[in-house]
């Protein structure tokens, strides 16, 4: 196994995901790091957002992460040998109003990242576009859809439930433009 200093985001995510699992926590990787992993770093994220699937003792996590060199710094956990940092956004894992049920067990070498499925990753990015009008998040959703072969129709029903059909149409249109370019 590589040392932390030499790990890329996927390798580090796998290392931490396995470590948390070994300590009997149940977390799912979410946010921009999933985009990085699914698009082979076309978008580069530095934060590893792990969302707890059930209640956790944050004091215990602090102690456990210290064992592998991640020290709490404000609301993040940082390691002296890497620029990547860990965040624990508030649970529950959700994409808009929908709870996240499926977990992708993504293999990276010997490690396994428990992370959003490509479809949920797209929904996660689209949430930021729907609710905060974040154009970068829209582009990220398109990148993941293209690189993971997820058609926009796969998230259409969800977008309708979120009440965001107009913005879904923008996503679909821009996806087609990129696909045909």
């Amino acid at each position: 196994m590589k040392i932390i200093k030499d790990m890329n985001i996927a390798e580090l995510a796998g290392y931490i995901s396995d470590y948390l699992e070994s300590k009997n926590y149940s977390f799912i990787l979410s946010g921009g790091s999933c985009v990085s992993i699914y698009t082979d770093n076309k978008y580069h994220s530095y934060d590893l957002d792990f969302i707890a699937k059930n209640s956790v003792n944050h004091k215990k996590i602090e102690t456990d992460l210290l064992e592998i060199g991640f020290k709490k710094d404000g609301k993040y956990y940082k390691h002296p040998d890497t620029d990547y940092f860990i965040d624990f956004p508030a649970p529950p894992p959700a994409v808009g109003n929908e709870p996240i049920r499926a977990v992708n067990h993504y293999k990276i070498g010997e490690a396994t990242i428990r992370m959003l499925t490509p479809e949920d990753c797209i929904k996660d990015r689209l949430c930021a576009f729907f609710y905060w009008d974040d154009k970068q998040a829209l582009q990220q959703a398109i990148m993941v859809a293209m690189d993971c072969n997820v058609k926009p129709e796969a998230v259409k029903e969800w977008a309708q439930k979120e009440g965001e059909t107009e913005k879904f149409d923008i996503f679909k249109k821009e996806y087609k433009l990129k696909k045909n370019a």
């Binding site: 609301k75 508030a90 649970p91 959700a94 808009g96 109003n97 929908e98 709870p99 949430c127 930021a128």
Partner: protein, 108 residues
Amino acid sequence: MLEGLFSNSIKEKILFFILQNGPSYPNEIATILDLTLFNVQKHLKQSEDTGVLVSHLKGKVRLYEFNKRYPFNRELDALLQKAFSFLPDEEKAMYYIRRRPRKPGKAI
């Protein structure tokens, strides 16, 4: 009204304030509601940590608003709206601040 759910009345007041006025900054909330800035900041931070609120900088001011991505945002909004409607009118008025534009120097 929702003290039982929120543990105390300060958080309820802060959430009512943001519900009525939209994105708000700590000093404004503290001044209008006659609370200490420390208390307001403490409750805003707690609400942000639990995903209920989000914040962003506008110039040098940090504005707090409801997190539209919070999975229970719709339900919380409905609950707060209903709870707010139960307040006496004089208490409701306490939460009002002018959001309409005003030219500098214009008489009130």
